[in-house]
């Protein structure tokens, strides 16, 4: 055995562990996606199938569905590690907890956000969105879903020690999702009018940049409180 300090290696091993575990229990990846799909299916059934109407409400539906299905995986983000004591081991490691947290959030995005980005063309098709809006949908999901993972992880960290943390977590996190929802849907809306939506994307990007820096600190202090 030898000591081998490498931030990258530590990040990678936390990330790989979470992704590997998710792939071993495939339901973890598939179920939120199916949920996403079903929620989107419900809207035309409830509101009516007129293509024009669907085009009009599609951005909102896709994004509300994305918010909700992200919430599904969040509850599990730290739960297993908290229950089996891995979280304590991460705290008592020579690496900063923020690093491990960053890796875990990245893993959560890989298994929950990324598949949504990849499947976005399918949803756009279902909701009668045009090509230019499709691009906007994919781009907003690409920038927006990591933000959802970061903000959501704060809620997950705060509630991991509570037995019935799931609902409480949604209560804490959903209001914080509002800016993401507003800018993302407006970007898609703007694109459907063939207007430039770079401004909204830039704002989403700026929020993501802030989240990458600030959220791991908030998440790790939340986890320290939960573990104590």
């Amino acid at each position: 055995m030898q000591t081998h300090h490498s931030y990258w290696l530590a990040f990678k091993s936390v990330y790989t562990k979470d992704v590997t575990l998710a792939f071993r229990q495939r339901a973890e990846i598939v179920n939120p996606l199916l949920f996403f799909l079903i929620v989107i299916t419900l809207f035309p059934l409830a509101i009516g199938p007129e293509p024009a109407l669907l085009t009009r409400i599609a951005p909102g539906i896709i994004w509300v569905a994305a918010l909700l299905s992200t919430m599904l995986g969040l509850d599990k983000l730290f739960r297993d590690d908290y229950n089996d004591g891995s979280l304590e081991q991460l705290i008592a490691s020579p690496y900063p907890l923020s690093l491990s947290v960053l890796a875990k959030v990245a893993a959560h995005w890989t298994v929950s956000g990324l598949p949504m980005v990849l499947l976005a063309p399918l949803f756009a098709l279902l909701m009668n969105l045009e090509t230019q809006s499709l691009n906007a949908t994919v781009l907003t999901l690409l920038i927006g879903t990591p933000l959802l993972s970061f903000i959501g992880a704060i809620g997950a960290g705060l509630t991991v020690a509570l037995q019935k943390g799931g609902i409480l977590m949604s209560l804490l996190v959903l209001p914080l999702y509002i800016p993401v929802l507003i800018f993302a849907t407006s970007a898609i809306d703007t694109s459907s009018m063939s207007l430039a939506y770079g401004g909204q994307l830039a704002i989403l990007g700026a929020m993501l940049a802030v989240a990458i820096v600030a959220a791991p600190i908030a998440i790790s202090s939340a986890l320290r409180v939960s573990v104590s």
Binding site: L158, K164, G165, L171, P175, L176, I182, A222, V225, S226
Partner: protein
């Protein structure tokens, strides 16, 4: 031994400080509300456009201002609590939150009651009202997180973290909602043109704003006293205090 006694003295001192401050806030609150309400309801002239319905401004604006003010003071207390690890600041966070939530609720109810005669609907997705609604959710989040923890020490720290996260997000939420509102051009009628406000209306409004600050202070101090007592209830000084009064 002395180190042991030190924090008790601190809590006791904080309790006494609350007691000293309480009468000042109480006087501001009672006199301010009395003068502000009578002036606002009976003596201020009616608005030429909105007639007497504008009088709701004398409680809507103060409660809206202090709903935000309470959240910021809560977040400042939370930062103090986490950075310097001061337990009393943590208790202050927990004490302010319900009062802030009450202020927010008042702002929402009065906003709706004002909206009905002005816009013809109880609820309009106006930027300011929507922001207040989200603020109410944030308050509920802090409160329910605190109460979900069995160990109140962890609960207090968790609530502090959430309050700080919330205060970072609040300007973003506010900005995004304002922006969303102009985008959809819903109800952009401003309820009250603040730049052109007549002094005869401005004075009672200012008095009410100060009075609401007094109310916020009074209730927060009472609640803070309770919280200090609750976590110090086994200490000798609390027992002495209870025996005395």
């Amino acid at each position: 031994m002395w180190k042991w006694l030190h924090p008790y003295a601190k809590a006791e001192r904080a309790y006494q400080l609350c007691n000293t401050l309480l009468p000042y806030f109480a006087v501001i609150a009672v006199v301010g509300l009395l003068v502000g309400w009578v002036w606002g309801l009976a003596y201020a002239p009616a608005d030429y456009q909105q007639k007497d319905s504008y009088r709701i401004i004398f409680i809507h604006v103060p409660s809206a201002i202090w709903s935000m003010g309470a959240y910021s003071s809560m977040a400042i207390a939370a930062i103090i609590a986490l950075v310097w690890q001061i337990r009393n600041a943590e208790l202050a966070v927990i004490s302010i939150a319900p009062v802030g939530a009450a202020m927010t609720a008042i702002a929402l109810i009065t906003g709706a009651a004002w909206g009905k005669p002005m816009w013809g609907a109880w609820w309009v997705w106006d930027a300011r009202l929507t922001s207040e609604l989200i603020l109410l959710f944030l308050y509920f989040g802090v409160l329910s997180l605190y109460h979900a923890f069995e160990d109140k020490k962890s609960g207090g720290r968790a609530a502090c973290i959430l309050a700080i996260v919330g205060v970072v997000n609040l300007p973003i939420i506010h900005f995004s909602v304002e922006w969303w509102n102009t985008l959809h051009q819903g109800s952009t009628i401003t309820k009250f043109d603040t730049s052109a406000i007549d002094p005869s209306m401005l004075w009672p409004l200012l008095i009410n704003i100060v009075a609401f600050a007094g109310v916020l202070g009074v209730v927060t101090l009472i609640r803070l006293k309770n919280e200090i007592l609750r976590c110090e209830q086994h200490r000798p000084w609390v027992r002495e205090l209870v025996n005395r009064g």
